[in-house]
Amino acid sequence: MSAANAAPITATDSLTQALKANIIPNQEYLLQGSVLDSAVEVLLHRLRGLCDNVDAGPETFDDQEVCFSLRDPNQQAAPLMLRVRKALDARDMPFQLRYIGQPDLGDKNRPTVVRSSLDIACSGMLIEFLNELGCRIEFEYSVKGYMFRKGRMKITVAKVFKISQSAMPPEPISQSYLVELSVLAPTGQDAIAEDMRAFADQLRPLVQLDKIDYKRLGHMPS
């Protein structure tokens, strides 16, 4: 009886415990690539053969993602980037608030991009909340495509659309589908990166999944 009546552990305490035990998935391992529209069917067939969750056909998704930035007026630190993703095909699902850190590029031997990432499901008036918090909208886009799963790995094949302001349907920004292979894991589980690289090799030469440094590319003249 006394154990059942013991004081409940506070949320901050349980979080600290979880952090110490290194079970909170706060890192994302990522590989990206693309496939032309003409070849996407072949890729989907290959993924259906390789992946787990395809009993009733590949899982589709249709999301809208908005990227916010929170600037610091006094310090010159880089602004904090936050992303909110909501499902357009399942309006009752919670929003996903995502914080993505800078990718860790130091090690050339790492097979994948590693960056810290926090995924939080939210409901309520998240966009207003962020606006009141002081965040500004940087950009937004919608993604629509297929999601596959293999063990802990998540593979998405999706088309990225630019959301237009008038009632016109969103237009795609390129003739290719974006392919992403990612795993959310606690810090220090680098073995999963090797598994990811092995899986990525199975998709060659259809798709070349690699670590791509978008910050460096962003400065290159297009």
Binding site: S34, F139, Y141, V160, S174, L217, S222
Partner: protein, 247 residues
């Protein structure tokens, strides 16, 4: 004693075989050159050369074997020279050496390299001994550089050829690196997705839809929509934004 004799005989036999093979190969090459000199191509010619070099390697292997040094201790001495035709000799040499004459024997039983070769070898030795260390090093480095440069050129060409052969056989490229980069930068930094200046915070009160940000320029600015982003366009974006995110 007998065992050594037997060994010698065996070695000699082996050498003889190898030399015969070499002879046939050279013969074949010469015939080829003479008869097919119009149709022969470089790879075939190289193949024949490869056969020759194979035979030479075999020969040198035998000579390097442990039993071979014994041969060094043996000397072939002509016991009798004559101008007469010797049938036995002719038969043994397939008609090439009819008699043990004075002019043939020095050439056939020669142990030193032939005069021209010897002279050139001497020249090289002399040159090598006069070089000092630094020059030699430099020359070696240059040589390595040239070789690696040639290697690079060859590997690049090989890649190109392989790519061409793939395309020629009908395999279409299934991904475009430029597209990959465009997509990744768009998703990561918003390149190509931004509309110019950031949106104004909408003034919303309570759960209902708040008052729209007044944009009296709504009418004329709809014509500027397809043009490059301007502040007017951004205001419209702010007004529209209140709507999609209300639950």
């Amino acid at each position: 004693m007998q065992r050594e004799e037997k060994q010698q005989e065996a070695i000699l036999q082996a050498i003889l075989n190898r030399v015969n093979d070499l002879k046939t190969a050279i013969q074949a090459l010469i015939t080829k050159l003479e008869t097919e000199y119009e149709t022969i191509n470089w790879p075939t010619f190289l193949d024949n050369y490869a056969i020759l070099s194979g035979h030479l390697t075999g020969l040198s292997k035998i000579l390097q074997a442990e039993i071979a040094p014994q041969l060094r201790s043996l000397v072939v001495l002509p016991l009798q020279l004559g101008c007469k035709r010797d049938e036995q000799l002719a038969q043994m040499t397939e008609g090439r050496v009819p008699a043990c004459t004075h002019d043939l024997v020095p050439d056939l039983l020669r142990t030193k390299p032939e005069p021209q070769a010897e002279q050139r070898l001497q020249q090289f030795n002399h040159k090598a001994s006069t070089l000092n260390y630094d020059t030699a090093q430099k020359q070696v480095a240059q040589f390595t550089k040239v070789v690696s440069h040639v290697w690079e050129i060859i590997s690049k060409e090989r890649e190109n050829w392989e790519g061409e052969s793939m395309r020629a056989s009908g395999i279409q490229p299934t991904h475009n690196m430029a597209d990959t980069h465009a997509l990744v930068t768009a998703v990561g930094t918003g390149k190509g997705l931004r509309l110019g200046m950031p949106a104004i915070v909408p003034g919303v009160g309570g759960p209902g839809m708040g008052p729209r940000v007044p944009t009296p320029q709504m009418g004329p600015s709809s014509q500027t929509m397809p043009k490059a982003p301007s502040t007017i366009k951004t205001n419209i974006k702010a007004a529209n934004q209140i709507h999609p995110y209300q639950r």
